[in-house]
């Protein structure tokens, strides 16, 4: 059987690896972006001079041939579902028995006036990074970033590494407050300003103005202000990359519509990762999941299903994610909404220096932990995964917090300060149990 995978990102590659591990099917991995799989999340580090492109490739180049995963560098323009064929950019056709579409996202553009000008771009692909190099090889006195998400803050950090003064236009009242609760959002907003960025909250892009050569000259904000700039980065999120499928019979809405087995409406065609949209997502999950980790899980489950002829459904464990905002790391386990649900309460602790915080969300009645956000603190994924599944209460989690720490050795611990505040706030008298690795082993193994 010949399995063709469109997209050599984390989803497609994970599927390919699991199929290969468990079967002898012929596998062809197609991408127009790069010859080899690279870590998209590491693009920023290439620009910042932390790594070179080849460092971002998780596998050495011999890996693919050794594992009999064929690679093709080309864009697929069409899926001929009737004949089970793909059309390449040069018109040639590729046969498939099963097709996995893992073609990722594209940057959102909302039809802003001037969004196609020279010097205006987004950041998602390897080609976008090359464009950024070109755009910043010219003189840039000031850059403007539009959008207050993860890519926006990454871009800000990138441009700062080249000493380009940057203005961030963020529609929200506080940074990323459509995802983060107020405490965390405020902490990050302060950190962005500490780095010297011109952060404009509650400010939107009105239009982008050109000079006489069709290059960006300035942006006009909705409040009427003009900001002179030579580079505008549009980072208002991403959406599934499906426009190339518009003539096919594969059913789409915002993304490629799939069931929990990643099956589309056409037999033998599957979609995973950023480009897929669940008709009926697992409980508590979104229709479209656009993070590294979900792409990896999609690929693993589909890969096993295809190789073993299983029909396992996507049934993920507790949500988790992570990011880094400039110098502050962020980890989250379970779900913390920007605003608590009706049956939820919060406990929030922030360190005196304003650079570390922990936010617990729990059920009002049972005090069962529903989710936790940590900033500037590393916590053990497997332990929180277990606690969330076991529906542990707040008291239990707080007492055993020391066992969950994943900070490097000799780091100052935060648990004592945290439990003091907890005891005060809830008029409790909890005491910390043993911290460290042996405490962790006891808890994870029981």
């Amino acid at each position: 059987m010949k399995i063709v995978i469109i997209g050599n990102g984390i989803s497609g590659v994970t599927a390919a690896r699991h199929i290969r591990k468990r079967s002898d099917h012929e596998i062809l991995l197609v991408s127009g972006e790069t010859d080899y799989f690279f870590s998209r999340t590491a693009l920023m580090y290439i620009y910042m001079g932390h790594m070179e492109y080849h460092h971002t490739k998780p596998y050495e180049d011999w890996f693919w041939e050794k594992n009999r995963i064929d690679l093709l560098r080309d864009w697929i323009t069409e899926v001929d579902t009737d004949n089970k064929q793909l059309v390449r950019s040069n018109g040639f056709r590729i046969n498939y028995d099963k097709l996995i579409i893992a073609c990722g996202s594209r940057s959102n553009l909302f039809g802003w006036h001037g969004q196609d000008l020279d010097g205006v771009q987004s950041l998602y692909s390897y080609q976008d990074l090359q464009q950024l190099e070109q755009n910043t090889n010219r003189k840039v006195d000031r850059a403007v970033i539009v959008g207050g998400g993860l890519i926006g803050i990454e871009l800000a950090e990138m441009l700062q590494s080249r000493k380009i003064p940057t203005t961030l236009l963020v529609r929200e009242k506080s940074y990323w407050d459509n995802v983060l609760p107020p405490g965390e959002s405020d902490l990050i907003s302060r950190h962005i300003r500490e780095h010297g960025f011109d952060l404009r909250l509650g400010e939107e892009l009105d239009k982008i103005l050109p000079d006489e050569n069709g290059r960006v000259k300035a942006v006009k904000t909705k409040s009427g202000e003009l900001v002179n700039t030579q580079l505008v980065c549009l980072t208002a999120g991403v959406s599934p990359n499906i426009s190339w499928l518009s003539n096919s019979s594969i059913e789409t809405k915002r993304g490629i519509l799939i069931n929990k087995r990643f099956e589309t409406n056409i037999p033998d065609i599957y979609a995973i990762g950023d480009c897929a949209e669940f008709r009926d997502p697992p409980p508590g999950r979104r229709n479209i999941e656009q993070v590294w980790y979900t792409g990896k899980m999609h690929g693993e489950i589909l890969g096993k299903n295809i190789a073993d002829n299983n029909d396992d459904q996507y049934n993920p464990g507790p949500w988790f994610n992570s990011a880094k905002f400039l110098d502050i790391e962020y980890q989250t386990y379970g779900t913390v909404y920007p605003k608590n649900k009706a049956d939820e309460n919060s406990f929030y602790w922030e360190d005196d220096d304003g650079k570390r915080c922990v936010h617990f969300v729990y059920n009002k009645d049972t005090t069962e932990l529903k989710g936790i956000n940590l900033f500037g603190i590393r916590a053990r994924h497997d332990l929180f995964h277990k606690w969330l599944k076991e529906k542990r209460t707040m008291d239990y989690v707080i007492e055993n917090l020391g066992a969950s720490s994943f900070d490097p050795e000799f780091y100052r611990s935060y648990e004592k300060k945290l439990i003091k505040k907890y005891n005060e706030e809830f008029n409790a008298n909890l005491k910390l149990k043993k911290r460290g690795f042996s405490a962790f082993l006891n808890l994870i193994n029981t």
Binding site: H50, L129, N137, R162, S322, K324, Q331, H385, F437, L441
Partner: protein, 472 residues
């Protein structure tokens, strides 16, 4: 390393430019280094001992000021911006020139000390003479090439150690570890032996933290003879040991040396892994972690390099064991031949090829080309022994945090030992590798909090890819 697809034009990245203050401070440090070269090349032209304090002062002030300008104006965090754009740190022209200069210095140091101005039969000139004032101050005699080397080596670890601490000031593990290597280099490797030598010239120059087989001359006849007082050796009389100071201290050196090899090291390696030595105590490691830090990312991460590494380092271990057995055979039997092989010749060849060329010339000279741990990774027999212990008899591992890895590659890039850390991290598997020196930089540069150095029950090390991917 793989092929880079290149099309990113990175030739003129503005970020690589320095501020005026950075330029001035760096300039001061460079003038200080230049004075050393001027002293070296000037032969008998100047009284180079006048260069000493101006040079050390300029290097100190310049480096500290540069450190301050580079790191103090930004919030705490990882500071690797533009490293791959900098000609010194990306194997560019400046990197090659630096590598060649250091290599040339080492070649002279080991094989042609007279070219550095060393004159055992009269007054030193040029570079060695430059350091006479410190040598007179500490031990009341003119400097030797090894004294100059010791001063420069220690100076580099101290000054660049301060820079390293400033760079990683948010990371307590890095701070403690660096203070430790600075302390052991300054106290144990430099001051203590010099002081003991001034107290009693008959004692061998003994670095109390150095250990066989890195210290391959420990079992040399002359070294054993110096440690075992001749009087004691002949009479085997307890009162001789008690009455003669040198005999007792010498014997202590021997006992301590043996204890280190057979007791202290295995126990510490069991509890903490190889890092207790390689990145907390060792002098080679000390230089690599401080002066070598700007080059750590230049190590080769390929599978091929790992294969070469395993062959080379264990071969050196086998050779040093054989060499030592032959040396001891000669010491006890008095015969210079073993099965027709000249034991002294074996020892000499080892000292030349491994001790001098590999550990010294290549080990440090190639920093700007192959990274800071070339010797530690491919050659050091001490690292080989500790590595075997670490892999099979140790509580140490680098834990991977669930499935939080995003395969970005920072960990692998900044591993000075060329371990492809990401390979493990993205599988959710613990890193248990013989070569890991436990520097902790992979954990520091990880943007998602995925790696942690820790010690725990040996059977809790996850050596297989676990099922846990956050799905079930």
């Amino acid at each position: 390393m793989g092929n880079s697809t290149n099309s990113l034009s990175i030739a003129n990245s503005d970020g690589a430019t320095l501020t005026a203050r950075q330029r001035i401070s760096l300039g001061l440090a460079v003038v200080g280094v230049f004075l050393i070269f001027l002293a070296w090349l000037s032969g008998n032209l100047f009284n180079t001992s006048n260069f000493l304090w101006p040079s050390l002062t300029l290097m100190t002030i310049g480096t500290l000021w540069f450190t301050y300008e580079t790191y103090a104006h930004h919030p705490d965090g990882i500071k690797n911006n533009n490293l791959w754009f900098n000609s010194l740190t990306n194997r560019g022209t400046i990197g090659w020139i630096t590598g060649i200069l250091i290599t040339a210095f080492y070649v002279c140091l080991y094989f042609f000390p007279s070219l550095l101005g060393y004159n055992p039969d009269g007054a030193n000139i040029s570079l060695i003479k430059m350091f006479d004032p410190i040598s007179y101050m500490i031990k009341g005699e003119a400097a030797s090439q090894w004294f100059v080397y010791g001063v420069l080596y220690t100076f580099a670890i101290l000054i660049m150690g301060v820079k390293f601490i400033m760079k990683y000031r948010h990371n307590s593990y890095q701070i403690f570890r660096t203070i430790s290597v600075m302390f052991f280099q300054f106290g144990f490797a430099f001051m203590l032996p010099e002081i003991m030598y001034t107290l009693n010239e008959s004692l061998p120059y003994y670095d109390w933290k150095n250990m066989w087989p890195l210290n391959y001359y420990f079992f040399d006849s002359y070294n054993l003879d110096k440690m075992i007082d001749p009087g004691f050796k002949q009479s085997m009389d307890l009162s001789t040991i008690m009455n003669e100071k040198s005999g007792l201290i010498g014997l202590m050196m021997l006992v301590w040396g043996l204890l280190m090899i057979f007791v202290v090291s295995p126990i510490l390696a069991f509890f903490f892994g190889k890092r207790w030595y390689c990145s907390w105590v060792c002098g080679c490691g000390g230089l690599a972690e401080t002066a070598g830090d700007p080059f750590r990312h230049l190590s080769d991460k390929s599978l091929k390099a790992w294969k070469i590494e395993r062959w080379m380092i264990h071969l050196v271990l086998v050779i040093v064991v054989i060499m030592t057995i032959l040396t001891l055979y000669t010491y006890f039997s008095g015969s210079g031949k073993f099965l027709g092989v000249d034991t002294y010749w074996v020892r000499k060849v080892y000292g030349f090829l491994i001790g001098s060329i590999f550990a010294g010339v290549i080990g440090v000279g190639f920093y700007p080309l192959m990274g800071s741990r070339v010797w530690c990774r491919f050659g050091c027999p001490m690292a080989a022994i500790l590595g075997i212990q670490q892999k099979y008899f140790s509580k140490f591992r680098i834990t991977t945090n669930g499935s939080q890895c995003i395969s970005c590659g920072n960990c692998s890039t900044y591993c000075e030992m060329g371990i492809d850390v990401r390979w493990y991290a993205q599988r959710g598997q613990d890193v248990v590798r013989a070569s890991c020196v436990g520097c902790g930089i992979c954990a520091a540069v990880c943007p998602r909090g995925v790696l942690k150095l820790e010690n725990g029950p040996q059977d809790s090390r996850k050596l297989e890819m676990p099922e846990f991917t956050g799905i079930k």
